[in-house]
């Protein structure tokens, strides 16, 4: 097996995550899907790291994790406060962007 398969897997996971973001309305699930996409990217980075034989890919994956953690913290806080004020976690409820 060629490690390239990891890349295909990452692409597949990423696509699934993206589709989930588009399809699901529950903000928490949407968030999970985003996490899935980030993880797919990390997998790709790690695979690249192995393919190229240096550690930079892993470093990037590491940073991605840190940023994802920060993002989750803020994002979940937003979801909580949104739920508090609107009693719903549906992303469609926040359709205030319409003119």
């Amino acid at each position: 097996m060629n490690p390239v398969n990891y890349l295909y897997l990452a692409a597949l996971l990423f696509t699934i995550g993206a589709a989930g973001v588009l399809i699901r309305r529950n903000a928490i699930v949407v968030f999970m899907c985003v996490e899935l996409m980030l993880n797919a990217c990390n997998l790709a980075f790690v695979a690249f790291s192995r393919l190229h034989g240096n550690l930079d890919g892993q470093i990037i994956a590491f940073f991605t994790m840190v940023v994802a953690a920060a993002e989750v913290v803020v994002g979940l806080a937003i979801i909580v406060s949104l739920f508090r004020s609107r009693h719903s976690a549906s992303v469609d409820d926040a359709s205030l962007m319409k003119l």
């Binding site: 973001v21 309305r25 992303v91 926040a94 359709s95 205030l96 962007m97 319409k98 003119l99």
Partner: protein, 667 residues
């Protein structure tokens, strides 16, 4: 000596500047200042003339360069003067007649509150006209050319409160502008052909250019001449120009400005000599105008318009002569000078008559005035005899020579031209006799001053508000506009004041003797020969035969007029007349043609263009704006406010970007 040349132009220019900018303070003395400066210019001209006589024929030309007017690379137009025999002739005529008419105007315009400005304009005209004839290059000539156009515009429209005068002024300027196109294109052609447009080099090397170019230049110059000299097809403005005060008609529209076209053609003789086609065009224009003007002159009842027709016709003679080449140039100029005398005299006489007749211009309402205005009668009569070419008077000498030269052209062309000139002489005798009889002979047909509220019955354009002159009978209230003369009062004909009669007398002397003096030993021809060159024409029949024929034709014309107007009472209201007469009264329908084709067509064109600009050009832009607005309204519906929707479009966009990247890689 040559430093004096600029003074010729400067003196009247100074007068114009002072009089026009000076304001009301100069009202009292303005006309004296204007006259004085015109006279000063004449004195300078005389000094220069005698200086010129003192030199040999070949060194007579003088040059004065002030500075370079427009210097751009190879394009150099100097503000420089050239005074040779041809210019000298014109300068003397312009300043001489001009001064006389200034004097005349002092009396004529006495009661006009804007007399100062009138003299300012007259001075402006003199300056421009002198610039025209003194210029040493075509661009400077163009400067003067337009300058006289402006002065003519201002003077025709001097009584601006009359719509007819304002319209006539505008028309004159516009028609002249059409001619100016010709002059400017001619100058451009000279520049591209010769690299210069100064008289000297252009005329000296004219024969080196191709004939096609020269023909083009010649035709363009002819177009310019047609505009300024009221030749067919650009003659229509001259009749209307009679809306101006009579001294203006005498000076500008008879003696000087309208002859500028003849000057231009004569000056550019070298070009025309090398372009026979252009010459043919010139003689054709001259011949047609000669008959055209004469026919129009026969039908007009307005004395000034009859004289205007005559002017057109006489200039036709000059143009024809100028088109004949070296056999005709000198005679064209000679006729120009004698015509300047007698036509100016005739106009001043007409002004004097109008002055005494409550500004009535309709000859049918004159009659029997010889007893009331003896001086006017005599001077006008001498002018009359001169213009019809009565043997011994000025007109005879100059016109006879032109007829001879026309025959001398040779071939069929010569015969045709000769016949036309002969016919013209006959018609001239006819209409001038008619004017003479209707004005000074026969019974009195005086009419009360027309009611200002009633529409005039004859010749709307001419009789329209004919009482514009404030200068009525002595003692009548001086005022402008419709309140000039009390309605219903019979005119009280009287001789004009001294300031008006003296110039008439002087001009009458010129009318009688100038031609004869010029012809002694062909003095005039020899005087001009270094500039215009001269060849003796050889008419197919002897000169005596031609002279006899001329006299016969002349008598026939005069006799016919006498039979029609002298032996029968003249009806006060013009009879309907034949088709030709009616057409001639309407300037042979040229104005109607212009109106239908140019004015109406132009109006339609501009109106539709305004519409096009608004709806089409602007509409395209506004339509684009509207469709963008509509499209954004549609697109706005895509903005449904759901974040997921936007996410889809982002995702799709990313996909497209990746696809594009891959494609670019693949290609």
């Amino acid at each position: 000596m040559e430093n004096l040349i600029a003074l010729l132009v400067a003196a009247p220019l100074l007068g114009a500047a002072v009089l026009l900018c000076g304001g009301r303070r100069l009202d009292a003395a303005g006309h004296w200042l204007g006259t004085l400066l015109a006279a000063a210019s004449f004195v300078v001209a005389a000094v220069l003339f005698f200086g010129m006589l003192g030199r040999g024929a070949e060194d007579r030309a003088l040059h004065q360069t002030l500075y370079t007017w427009v210097p751009v690379e190879s394009f150099r137009a100097d503000l420089a003067f050239q005074l040779d025999q041809l210019s000298m002739t014109f300068v003397l005529l312009i300043t001489g007649v001009g001064t006389l008419i200034h004097v005349y105007s002092i009396g004529y315009m006495e009661h006009d509150e804007r007399r100062r400005r009138f003299f300012g304009y007259l001075n402006l005209f003199l300056a421009a006209m002198l610039l025209l004839v003194l210029a040493d290059n075509y661009l400077l000539l163009y400067f003067g050319w337009e300058g006289v156009g402006l002065a003519s515009y201002l003077l025709i429209g001097f009584w601006q409160h009359k719509p007819s005068a304002a319209t006539a002024a505008k028309k004159a300027f516009l028609v002249n502008r059409v001619g100016d196109i010709g002059l400017s294109i001619a100058i451009m052609l000279m520049f591209t052909t010769f690299g210069t447009f100064a008289f000297g080099p252009v005329l000296a090397t004219a024969d080196k250019a191709s004939e096609g170019t020269l023909t083009a230049i010649g035709l363009m110059l002819l177009l310019a001449a047609c505009g300024k000299s009221a030749q067919v097809p650009l003659q229509s403005w001259l009749g209307d120009a009679m809306e101006g005060p009579t001294p203006v008609s005498a000076l500008i529209h008879a003696a000087t400005m309208v002859t500028a076209g003849v000057y231009l053609i004569t000056r550019s003789g070298a070009i025309f000599d090398a372009a026979p086609t252009a010459q043919t065009a010139v003689v054709t224009v001259g011949a047609v105008t000669l008959l055209f003007g004469a026919i129009v002159g026969c039908a007009k009842d307005d004395i000034k318009k009859a004289l205007a027709g005559s002017t057109m016709s006489q200039i036709g003679y000059m143009v024809l002569a100028a088109g004949l080449g070296p056999i005709g140039y000198a005679f064209a100029i000679m006729h120009l000078v004698t015509h300047g005398f007698f036509k100016a005299g005739l106009f001043l006489g007409a002004g004097s008559v109008m002055h005494g007749m409550n500004d009535e211009v309709d000859m049918r309402k004159y009659g029997g005035l010889r007893a009331y205005m003896p001086v006017t009668f005599v001077t006008f009569g001498l002018g009359y005899l001169a213009i019809i070419g009565f043997p011994g008077l000025s007109g005879f000498w100059s016109k006879d020579k032109i007829i001879e030269a026309a025959f001398a052209k040779g071939g069929t062309e010569g015969w045709i031209l000769g016949a036309v000139t002969l016919l013209g002489a006959g018609i001239t005798a006819y209409y001038m006799t008619r004017v003479m009889i209707m004005t000074f002979f026969g019974e009195k047909r005086w009419q009360p001053a027309p009611d200002p509220h009633r529409a005039p019955d004859v010749e709307p354009a001419a009789a329209d508000d004919g009482r514009h002159l404030a200068a009525g009978p002595v003692g009548s209230p001086a005022a402008e506009g419709p309140a000039g003369h009390p309605a219903g009062e019979l005119p009280d004909p009287h001789e004009s004041p001294r300031s008006m009669t003296v110039p008439m007398i002087v001009l009458a002397f010129g009318s009688v003797f100038a031609g004869g003096l010029f012809s002694i030993n062909s003095a005039f021809v020899h005087w001009l020969e270094p500039v215009t060159r001269f060849e003796h024409g050889h008419p197919p029949v002897s000169a005596a035969v031609i002279t006899t024929a001329t006299l016969v034709v002349l008598l026939a014309g005069a006799g016919l007029a006498y039979a029609q107007y002298g032996r029968r009472p003249v009806p006060v209201t013009a009879p309907r007349g034949s088709l030709l007469t009616r057409a001639a009264r309407r300037d042979l329908l040229q104005d109607d043609f212009n109106h239908v084709v140019l004015v109406r067509g132009g109006e339609h064109l501009t109106r539709s263009l305004v519409y096009v600009d608004h709806t089409l050009v602007d509409g395209v832009v506004n339509g684009t704006a509207a469709s963008v607005g509509g499209l954004s309204g549609r697109l706005r519906k895509l903005q449904n406010g759901y974040a997921r929707s936007y996410a889809v479009s982002m995702f799709g966009g990313t996909a497209v970007l990746i696809a594009a990247t891959l494609l670019m890689r693949a290609v």
